[in-house]
Symmetry: C2
Subunit: 362 residues, 2 copies
């Protein structure tokens, strides 16, 4: 069978220029291992994962495959203490939903709102995954170098040229250019996220034209045609999240999987209501009502803690109204396939697309 | 030299799968003729052009080349009369700018705000351009057929699958899928334009997957890599507007050309302040201040008449503050090249990109 290969594939030790995007909860060790075993790069979304659990998850993958995988962290600066008035407002805004799901009233969210980043970074240094990526910010150059010195390739994500250039100056191995179509959290860290809503096609081409570091394209890519398109733009790999949400190996709640599989066009929007930072998700009752009421929210990631019980209870009960159904704009192109089959399909489609393009040169 | 060809090229009688997007004022007969002569499809943006002028422009192109060209019209329903209070509010909102440019105070805008659409359509039937396209709406099926019966290929533009399906049901020859990156007016006509801000990569792939009619991709395409990318997505041609704005043959005001050539990333936004309908333009003082003040505006196209003197005077004086610098999100990739050279460059880049893609299959 024909091969599909970029120089970044060699650098990361993967067969295919396809990366399963890191997604907290959806990216189980089963999914990551299945994707990596199939020749793409599986990725953990460990933003909210404690170091010990990161270790266990890495071991679980390594028990299944010796192929490379990626661990992703959120590296935004932790917020200060949330004042009492802000807590009250945000708690009141969701109290009715707590009642509706028969949960005890929401309690004030206490710091720390998320695992300690430095402890997570030390876990990366111990786990030494083939690839480490970060989102929502940057890390100091010496840290990038220290991690690279352990044999780990490092990638960061950018929503604009300025952020990409900064990542290049830090010496990362690759840059994830996240277009406006992308599901999940906007990676913006130097500019207002709402000012950097550039479509994947435009953003990838602009970033590729402005940096020498290999670029990975993210946002709206769901099939081989999308992969071939971003390779045409000069990306060295495609980063697909939504496409993997419905996989049986994915840990996404059933409501999320069905939400993606049954989604119609224009179903997503960018909301801060689940976590406190803008992220693209399928609009549901929670998002719509919180937006309509202009309901207050806590800063990231405190809001994510506050909505956590709600999301968990709703997921358990199969109620999509309160599940964070993160998804990109091309979600209607999603398919319910086991991860290995999806990777094989993406590979075959990409090759087919390249053949189709070659035939245009008559 | 290698050829680059899709079946839509045959259908439209053009050598290359490249269409210069219609742009009122920028698309002069010189530009249209130069683009068509170079093997792409030149297009008039005749939205605001009277039938007689449409005739003259077509003759001017035909005196230069016998190759196909496209005439584009806006086909939105004309608004009713604008009431006195709305007029006062909108006039007051721009009166200061009129003073600043030493123009007499703005006068109430009177109907008709734009050329009569039926007269324009009759002009199309007389001119019989190789291609007729419409934007901002649709036209009845019998009109599509009547125009096609004259040997004219007909295309309409869509910002979502629903609009594309409707165009297919009308029997158009091709559908322009306009992604969120695109400069100029959003083509939405069945849904709220702000709900249909889907990136080009996602939108083109979704529309291609949902209709059988050939799709032309628009939005954020500035070079051969962008063209190859949309061909990968299954589009049969690429539609580039912003790339042609700086051409010497373009009638865009110098301020507009320089605005595009010197634009930085994230410089554009979608505004209704120039025409009354949402359109992507480079943010300037007029847009920023009108947005900040939440200044009232007239309905489309009455607002376009109201801002007309302002735009013209500013363009003449070389003041970018009041010029409608319509541009897409990838404007920073623009180049100042004569039209024929730009088309030749796009062709060479696309072929080079297809070669690069073929080499990935090692």
């Amino acid at each position: 069978m024909a091969k599909l290969h970029t120089s970044l594939c060699d650098r990361l030790g993967i067969r295919l220029p396809i990366i399963q995007a890191p997604m907290p909860s959806a990216a189980t060790p089963e999914l990551v291992a299945a994707v990596s075993h199939a020749g793409a790069l599986g990725s953990f979304g460990s933003a909210y994962t404690q170091p010990e659990a990161m270790q266990r998850e890495a071991e679980a993958v390594r028990a299944r495959t010796h192929l490379p995988f990626n661990v992703n962290l959120f590296v935004s600066k932790p917020p200060g203490a949330v004042d009492a008035a802000a807590q009250r407002g945000a708690l009141d805004a969701v109290a009715g939903y707590y009642r509706e799901l028969r949960l005890p009233p929401p309690e004030p969210v206490r710091s720390p709102y998320a695992p300690d980043l430095d402890a997570q970074l030390r876990a990366i240094e111990e786990i030494r995954p083939a690839v480490f990526t970060f989102h929502l910010g940057d890390i100091p150059q010496e840290r990038v170098r220290r991690i690279q010195a352990l044999g780990v390739k490092v990638g960061g994500s950018a929503n604009c040229i300025a952020e990409a250039r900064n990542l290049e100056s830090l010496g990362v191995d690759f840059i994830v250019a996240q277009g406006a179509e992308a599901g999940g959290h906007r990676g913006s860290y130097r500019r207002n996220p709402y000012d950097s809503m550039t479509g994947t096609l435009a953003l990838v081409r602009m970033i590729v034209s402005n940096v020498k570091t290999p670029v990975v394209a993210a946002g709206g890519i769901m099939d081989g045609a999308g992969i071939a398109a971003v390779l045409a733009l000069g990306a060295q790999a495609a980063w697909l999240g939504t496409a993997f949400v419905p996989c049986p190996e994915s840990g996404a709640p059933r409501a999320h999987k069905e939400g993606v599989l049954n989604s119609k066009e224009d179903a997503t929007l960018v909301t801060e209501k689940f976590s406190g930072k803008p992220a693209r998700a399928i609009a549901n009752r929670f998002i719509r009502e919180m937006h309509e009421r202009a309901a207050p929210q806590l800063v990231f990631p405190a809001q994510n803690v506050l909505t956590g019980k709600l999301r968990t209870a709703a997921a358990k009960a199969g109620i999509p109204d309160f599940v964070a159904m993160y998804a990109g704009q091309a979600a209607p192109l999603s398919r319910a396939l086991p991860a290995a089959e999806l990777v094989a399909t993406l590979e075959a489609e990409t090759l087919e697309c390249l053949d189709r393009l070659a035939a245009l040169r008559r």
